[in-house]
């Protein structure tokens, strides 16, 4: 499908596009980000610095970027998908070779005004490229083994690079996000069933490899899994994060301990309370009601994205929107599972709420794409 297929009359153009933006989605995103501002203010002990203020500025920039991206027709984004993927891959290779040598064990490139993590960029670029691929691929060839292998390679190359950094969280996100796009594009069930079966086998192999010469993952990763399975095993060492996080969550009760009254966060018992564990501070201070409210906001974001995608006749736009929504979901699902003790501790931030520039900006760009898809929907 190309831009020629769009009937100019049915697609808004010029300034009129503003009226066709998915405004409820933009409002929801602002609401989610505001929860972040609120908690960053609280975590800093009632102060805009050092976290809340920069976060607000970044969100403002992100919002602007989202609108700009939204104004650009979605077929332009489709056409640059390959470029985005290639560029992200190059940057990943760059930090792999130069990042580790020149800048220590860092995963980012300093752009001056912000630090760019290529792996963040890749999460979006991968979805874009896969969506473009399936847009290009005739539907009847989707389940053809050759045409299944191509996206698998597209997914595995960046996943492997990220895993080498090592960044287990992002690797899982890339793998699952990419897989989800393939599934959405209509690849045959059998592939997924066999891959899942293979994955179970691999996990078994990983555990079997422990302590042998051919150990497949690092010791500290094994320890994270151990402490995830039994946090009480090492309450002051590796299990400390999970234990303290659960204490903070649990002590919130129904209504929480009150804004800025959370003892776990205020007294620094929570690890990385402004980034990966920010959800626990919310849960501690606003209780079950507060945490379920945030969950509901996230659910609404998902609903708006999915409904937008389901009403979009454009295959690229629909796959892109769903892919981004799925990536967004994976972010929050992994993060929340982690702080609630349902998953091992992997470094995945809570989308739009955790403090952090790269992730915030990349997510807003991604929602810009979603908006673009929405605005340029054939009507």
């Amino acid at each position: 499908m190309s831009y020629l297929e769009y009937a100019v009359k049915t697609t808004p153009s010029g300034f009129r596009k503003v009226f066709y933006l998915n405004w409820p989605l933009a409002l929801l995103l602002t609401a989610v980000a505001s929860v972040g501002f609120l908690q960053l203010y609280s975590v800093a002990g009632g102060s805009f610095s050092p976290w809340a203020e920069p976060q607000m500025k970044r969100f403002a920039i992100g919002l602007l970027a989202m609108f700009i991206v939204a104004m650009v027709p979605v077929w332009f984004w489709r056409n640059v998908s390959g470029v985005a993927y290639g560029l992200s891959l190059l940057l990943l290779v760059f930090v792999e070779f130069f990042g580790s040598v020149g800048m220590g064990a860092q995963r980012w490139i300093d752009l001056g005004f912000m630090r760019l993590q290529p792996s963040e960029l890749m999460k979006i670029a991968l979805v874009m490229f896969l969506a473009a691929y399936y847009d290009w691929l005739p539907l009847r060839k989707v389940s053809h083994p050759v045409f299944v292998m191509i996206p698998v390679i597209i997914i595995l190359v960046p996943t492997f690079l990220v895993l080498k950094q090592p960044d287990l969280g992002t690797a899982i996100l890339l793998l699952t996000g990419g897989g989800a796009v393939m599934f959405l594009a209509g690849v045959h069930w059998a592939y997924f069933v066999s891959v899942i079966a293979g994955a179970v086998g691999l996990v078994w192999a990983v555990f079997q490899s422990r302590g042998t010469d051919w150990q497949l993952i690092k010791d500290y990763q094994f320890r994270r899994i151990d402490t995830f399975l039994d946090p009480s095993m090492d309450p002051l060492g590796a299990g400390y994060h999970i234990t303290q996080s659960k204490i903070a969550l649990g002590s919130g009760g129904w209504t929480g301990r009150g804004y800025m009254q959370g003892t776990q966060s205020r007294l620094n018992f929570l690890p990385e309370k402004h980034t990966d564990f920010i959800f626990t501070t919310l849960a501690e201070e606003f209780g079950f009601i507060g945490s379920v409210s945030l969950l509901a906001l996230y659910a609404l974001v998902m609903v708006f994205c999915i409904s937008s995608a389901m009403t979009n006749q454009n295959r690229y736009a629909a796959l892109l929107t769903l892919g981004i929504a799925t990536t967004f979901f994976l972010f929050l699902a992994v993060n929340m599972s982690m702080v609630m003790g349902l998953a091992p501790v992997v470094g995945v931030p809570l989308p739009l709420v955790s403090y952090g520039g790269s992730a915030m900006l990349v997510l807003m760009l991604a929602f810009g794409l979603v908006q673009s898809a929405h605005v340029h929907k054939p009507r």
Partner: protein, 647 residues
């Protein structure tokens, strides 16, 4: 839609179907998250709330004030003084070295302390105070207070520390405190958490150690909110502890001071007991030491000086030291003989200078002999042969039993370290310990307080008090604990025949007041203060045949550590006994010449509760006594300020 791509319809339908599936799965997972949240936040909320509180709240102990120790008149013997120390907090100080350098210009700092503080600082959290200097004077503290702006992070910290205002006088009675050591902790089963407070002081020896539980008090608690690294954020509440019990002793500060001053540099001990109720008025041991040195942490050189001194300043000789009682034991033998009915007060033995027992000659101290002697004369002139004869008739079992009734060979229950039991030998004892049969010669030796018999100055004072009153006087050191009067030691009657008692008392009176008495030189001439005493000179060696042949019998010719011990016991006034005194001067040579004058001075001091009038002394002694009183007055503690601070 005017134009549709070939397979757009189908693809859209497929995407829609799978999207619904994926979306449904995602929302379902969110439902699981919500359920998990409900489980943690609602079902388990109480449990986690408790854990959060445990995280947040820390209990801190507040050390209680140690009970103070006073004398019978309420004068302080051991008290708590504010002790200042200087601490530094790294994060407040900023440039630690510059701040310390500035501080060193203000007050004297020990470079070793600075090094220790610097290394401690590297190991501990930046907000924890590190001690820079201890026992800082009030002047230095005020210097720091004035210069606070130039000394960021430096704070004077005040705590309580033990202080013994009378210094050497009570070292052997009260003992001293010191910081809890690992050894102390290992000795105590289930130690109080208090003891783990750094620099907490615990009684190490003497009364401070024996009465530790009463003196210590109980800790208060402070609940504080702490953060993850242990920094105290605020105090939540506070419960003050119970201060330790104050203890009032039976001793008299002024008399104790006099005793210590009078004993001076001699290696000696003296005990003054109130015969009416067993109160120990003074328990002296010389030479002494300043217990405050130990509280501060004694230097190696000071400690070595104390341990290497042959006069053993660290030993509490009054209760720990055991000596052959010598002739002071003769009252016990006399009473045993009289009570057993083996002699009457008028029976006599003939003293020819020696007694031959199983082919061995036992000499009287008077080579020429005393001639015919009855009990009174035997005591007066301390005739050894009389008691040889008497003892060999009475037998060791009855003598030892009488000695026990008199308080010898018994460990008196006093809150002091290592109270000695002494020894009153029996046949069974010798068989058990030495594996030998008791010999008649052993009885003969025991009759004059030699051989196996051993007694402490405290026991000799108790014995004298019992002879003086005929009652089972028991020594008492603690008058009251927190105002609660402790049981008196006046005791029941011993059930001795009053006539026998008065014969022995009369013999002792003659010792001091008859021209023939061995203690006549150290008598009291004030009519209503007359004293009754008994001298003792106990050998610490066997005179060898070679020495006897060479004629070396004079103590002056011997090195100090081989000279005889000088002993004296007395009670006074004779007509209505108030005090009993025992004095032992180690290697003092002669009981009547060395120990008796000391005992007389102490007895008079106790009876007059201060310097006695000179006319209590025989005329020829008065000039010397006046000069001595002058000299000892200078050593008296100035209690006017103490009295004022208490008022």
């Amino acid at each position: 839609m005017s134009r549709k791509p070939r397979d757009s319809q189908g693809s859209t339908r497929k995407v829609t179907r799978r999207a619904a599936l994926v979306g449904g799965l995602q929302l379902g997972f969110m439902g699981i998250l919500a359920a998990r949240m409900r489980h943690l936040q609602v079902d388990q909320a109480d449990q986690f709330r408790l854990l959060a509180e445990e995280n947040r709240i820390n209990m801190r102990l507040i050390p209680p004030a140690r009970g103070e120790i006073f004398d019978r008149n309420g004068l302080p013997i051991a008290r708590n003084e504010p002790a200042y120390r200087i601490t530094i907090v790294r994060e407040d100080a900023g440039d630690v070295e510059a701040v310390i350098a500035r501080l060193a210009r203000l007050i004297p700092l020990d470079p070793a302390d600075i090094d220790r503080a610097m290394s401690e600082m590297k190991r501990s959290a930046p907000f924890l105070p590190i001690t820079l200097a201890e026992r800082v004077s009030w002047e230095d503290v005020s210097k720091i207070a004035v210069n606070t702006p130039a000394l960021p992070g430096i704070t004077p910290d005040v705590g309580l520390s033990r202080y013994y205002p009378l210094q050497k006088d009570f070292a052997h009675v009260v003992g001293y405190v010191g910081p809890v050591s690992d050894y102390d902790l290992s000795k105590i089963e289930d130690p109080d958490q208090l003891l783990r407070i750094p620099r907490f002081q615990i009684g190490k020896v003497g009364l401070e150690a024996k009465m530790e539980e009463q003196l210590r008090g109980s800790a208060g608690t402070r609940r504080v909110e702490v953060n993850a690294v242990g920094r105290v954020m605020r105090e939540l509440d506070r419960r003050e502890g119970e201060p330790g019990a104050n203890i009032q002793l039976t001793t008299d500060v002024m008399l104790q001071n006099y005793v210590q001053a009078r004993l001076g540099d001699e290696s000696a001990a003296a005990v003054v007991i109130d015969t009416t109720n067993g109160d120990l008025l003074a328990v002296g041991s010389a030479p002494s030491f300043d217990p405050n040195l130990f509280v501060r942490g004694i230097s190696v050189s000071d400690y070595r000086a104390l341990t290497q001194n042959d006069h053993r300043p660290l030993a509490a000789k009054s209760v720990q030291g055991i000596y052959p009682p010598g002739s002071t034991f003769k009252m016990v033998v006399a009473l045993a003989g009289l009570e057993a009915g083996l002699i009457t007060p008028d029976d006599t033995f003939w003293c020819g200078g020696y007694l031959e027992v199983s082919n061995r000659r036992f000499h009287c101290w008077k080579r020429g002999g005393h001639g015919h002697m009855n009990v009174t004369g035997g005591l007066r002139e301390s005739c050894d042969v009389f008691f040889y004869e008497l003892a060999s008739r009475v037998g060791i079992e009855k003598i030892s039993a009488m000695a026990n009734r008199m308080g010898l060979g018994i460990r008196h229950d006093l809150p002091l370290s290592a109270v000695a039991a002494g020894l009153t030998p029996t046949r069974a004892w010798k068989r058990e310990v030495h594996g030998q049969d008791w010999l008649i010669g052993d009885t003969v030796n025991a009759s004059i307080g030699q051989g196996y018999v051993l007694a402490s100055p405290l026991q000799l004072a108790v014995m004298t008090a019992r002879i003086a009153t005929g009652r089972n006087v028991t020594p008492r050191l603690i008058k009251s604990i927190d105002g609660v009067e402790q049981p008196s030691g006046s005791g029941e009657s011993l059930g001795l025949n009053p006539r026998h008692l008065s014969v022995v008392q009369g013999g002792m009176y003659e010792v001091s007041n008859s021209r023939k008495g061995t203690g006549y030189g150290a008598r009291i001439i004030a009519e209503d203060m007359r004293m009754a005493g008994k001298s003792g000179t106990s050998q610490v060696r066997n005179i060898t045949a070679a020495e006897r042949a060479a004629g070396v019998t004079s103590n002056e010719d011997l090195p100090w550590e081989r000279r005889d011990h000088a002993l004296w016991v007395d009670f006074a006034p004779f007509d209505d006994p108030k005090v009993a005194v025992a004095v032992v001067v180690e290697h003092g040579s002669g009981g009547s010449s060395v120990a008796a004058p000391i005992a007389r001075d102490i007895t008079l001091q106790a009876l007059f509760q201060g310097d006695p009038p000179l006319d209590a002394y025989p005329a020829k002694d008065r000039d010397r006594i006046a000069e001595q009183q002058e000299r000892l007055r200078a050593l008296r503690p100035d209690l006017s300020s103490e009295a004022k601070s208490r008022a």
